[in-house]
């Protein structure tokens, strides 16, 4: 990697948070550029909220540094940080109306009254809640409350916006609608965002870059497509989307291709890897990159044979579960491009599954 010319907008430098011996956040370093929407993605308890709370200033790192726009945030209490957070539970003030909630932060800055009113009106318009200005939070639906929380956290025009599971309290359908709306609003305002989620679809749709966390460690940082198509290790491959993982041995290592022998097949992988012949590796193939046929494909590589154990029709695509000789169950997702397949497959059919040499990823760890 080339040494970056200017230091990043937000630098998280080797941050550790130790809770009486348990490292909830373990030597995490992330650089985030101005204007970026960055997602921390990981399963429950991996330390996402802990990291976010250190950014907001509610707790301080055991060691490490957090630098925002060149300023070291160490020792700076939350109320002095140019950072605002949208809480998972929204944490709207129940005794204040929608507009008073939004004005709360502005009043603390001692902004003149007329400017506050102007800003509040603008924020209400942004989140389309103009009609609800006088209502109390409990008189709003979950989705409306979420937008009030967003408006409140954006009202002060923070340098950094933190979102903790921003859409966690919404049902699936509303969540999908809101994701896009949220990104639109954030882009209109042009604020840098660090968001936390355990919903990978949410991270994929909203973020420009994602960090995958597990047990306090960052496993991989990259754009959504990078993480999906070239996962760095087994955990990431398995965590993001569906994947077929096959353990095998590297038997032929060439600069432009490698061959991996697994229990069910031999893989011809169309790119080189850093490894040595004889080492144990895993090969990951995504279900949608696999093709099912009745006839045996040509060649000796990249196909397996099995029986259809299960098939689920999803409308746009069909998912097949194929039992292989080794006992492994192979997941295949075929998109239904035409309305009828010429030779409909069904339970118990013997089939072949095949893929192209560039669709696998070889994982060495």
């Amino acid at each position: 990697m080339v040494a970056s010319q200017a230091p990043a907008f937000l630098q998280i430098k080797d941050v550790v948070k130790d809770f009486s011996g348990v490292k909830a956040v373990n030597h995490v370093s992330i650089d985030i550029a101005k204007g970026e929407i960055f997602a921390l993605l990981g399963s429950s308890g991996c330390g996402k909220t802990t990291l976010l709370r250190m950014l907001a200033g509610f707790s301080s790192p055991t060691s490490g540094k957090i630098i925002l726009n060149g300023q070291d945030l160490e020792g700076l209490p939350p109320y002095l940080r140019p950072i605002n957070m949208m809480f998972q539970s929204y944490a709207l003030f129940p005794h204040l109306s929608v507009e008073e909630n939004i004005a709360f932060g502005l009043k603390r800055d001692g902004m003149p009254k007329d400017q506050i009113a102007e800003r509040v009106e603008k924020m209400l318009k942004l989140v389309q809640l103009g009609k609800y200005a006088k209502r109390k939070p409990h008189q709003l639906s979950g989705g409306q409350q979420q937008r009030v929380a967003l408006a409140r956290s954006l009202a002060k025009r923070p340098q950094l916006l933190l979102l903790d599971e921003p859409l966690g309290a919404l049902d699936k359908k509303l969540r999908e609608e809101t994701q896009i709306e949220l990104v639109n609003i954030i882009e209109q305002v042009g604020v840098t965002v660090v968001m936390v989620t355990h919903d990978q679809e949410e991270a994929m749709t909203m973020a420009s870059r994602i960090a995958i966390m597990s047990e306090g460690n960052i496993l991989q940082i990259g754009a959504p497509s990078e993480i999906y198509e070239t996962p760095a290790n087994r955990f990431v491959a398995d965590f993001i989307g569906n994947v077929n993982l096959m353990d095998g041995t590297l038997i032929d290592d060439n600069p432009d291709h490698v061959i991996v022998e697994c229990a069910d097949c031999k893989h011809y992988v169309g790119h080189g890897i850093t490894g040595t012949e004889g080492m144990a590796v895993s090969v990951a193939v995504r279900p949608e990159k696999i093709h099912v046929t009745r006839e045996k494909p040509d060649g000796e590589y990249n196909h397996v044979r099995g029986t259809i154990k299960d098939m689920v029709y999803f409308g746009s695509h069909t998912v097949y579960h194929i039992q292989l000789g080794s006992g492994l169950v192979f997941k295949i997702s075929e998109s239904n491009v035409s309305r009828h397949r010429d030779d409909p497959l069904t339970w118990g059919d013997e089939v072949w599954a095949s893929w192209t040499p560039l669709s696998q990823v070889v994982l060495t760890q």
């Binding site: 950072i83 409990h138 002060k156």
Partner: protein
């Protein structure tokens, strides 16, 4: 309709359902233990006293049904400045006590609610502990503590607090603390403090602390967050505690008797005299009715707030 059908209908009607029974219990309680006695007192207050017992309100003689309501007691209360002064004094001392209970009780409840959860039960226990000794004894003990050479009196003198108290006009002379407005309010504050602390603690303990984080995040210092978030959100607790202190203080009899002085005549004492010295039950009842009305007004305000808070929570 057959008796069977009537029974089923009764059973299905709201009247007999378990739900209305549960809701009904407090109403029955209020009816039997508040409204009925109040009506009896009200009746006595407008009755005419004969040597031993009261005349009936309704008399029937020579085909004439007569309802006699004697309002002269109320007129008397309205006209005699003594009563007005005493009512005012009662309200004043009750209000002062409520204020001091709030000033002491709020920080106390606040730190109790924010203390480590493991020590909260112990703190709560300490608040209740005084209830284990007789209330009379505890109030009586203040006579010794504040009397001549009582150590509290000595301490106050040593700190020159008596100069301040004298300047405020709440003690009769330097070094003399007993039988003064000061000793009265001190005794009542001491006695009623737990009634302020308990509802406040219950309220503050269940507050969502994330709201304070949200306030800090939006730029509020801890001090601002306290006044803008914690205090408004504990309004229901403040009102509940204040009512629990204010209402019994207005009619308090024992504490003014033991700790009060000649200038701290409160309505409880007047009631006692009317009942037991003058034996004028109608007059005593009238005094009591006016007192209840004085108390019911703040209570109604409290109820209105409670209803609002309830609505806000749901």
């Amino acid at each position: 309709m057959s008796p069977q059908a009537v029974l089923t209908q009764l059973r299905n009607s709201k009247l007999l359902s378990g739900r209305s029974a549960v809701i009904g219990v407090p109403y029955v309680w209020l009816l039997v233990f508040f409204l009925l006695p109040f009506l009896i007192v009200l009746k006595i207050s407008v009755s005419e006293m004969e040597t031993v017992h009261f005349k009936d309100l309704l008399t029937y003689k020579d085909g004439l049904l007569q309802l006699t309501l004697k309002f002269s007691n109320y007129e008397f209360i309205a006209e005699d400045p003594l009563y007005f002064k005493v009512y005012l004094a009662s309200l004043k001392y009750a209000a002062a006590t409520t204020l001091f209970c709030l000033l002491i009780g709020y920080p106390f409840s606040y730190f109790m609610a924010r203390a480590k959860p493991s020590i909260q039960p112990a703190l709560l226990m300490m608040v209740m502990l005084p209830f284990w000794t007789s209330f009379l004894l505890r109030v009586y003990a203040w006579k010794g503590l504040l009397g001549e050479n009582g150590w509290v009196a000595n301490l106050l003198e040593w700190l020159h607090v008596d100069h301040l108290l004298l300047a405020l006009g709440v003690i009769p002379a330097l070094g003399k603390f007993m039988n003064s407005p000061f000793s009265l309010v001190l005794g009542m504050t001491y006695t009623y403090l737990p009634f302020m602390i308990l509802p406040l603690y219950a309220n503050l303990a269940k507050m969502d602390l994330r709201l304070l984080e949200a306030a800090a995040d939006l730029g509020a210092t801890p001090w601002t967050a306290f006044w803008k978030v914690t205090v408004p959100l504990s309004k229901a607790g403040i009102i509940a505690g204040s009512m629990l202190v204010f209402i019994p203080c207005v009619g308090e009899f024992v504490i003014p008797e033991l700790l009060g002085g000649p200038e701290t005549l409160m309505i409880g004492r007047v009631l006692w005299d009317e009942f037991f010295s003058n034996n004028d039950w109608p007059m005593a009842s009238s005094v009591a009715v006016v007192m209840i009305l004085l108390i019911i007004v703040p209570l109604a305000i409290f109820n209105k707030y409670q209803a609002e808070a309830q609505e806000a929570r749901s």
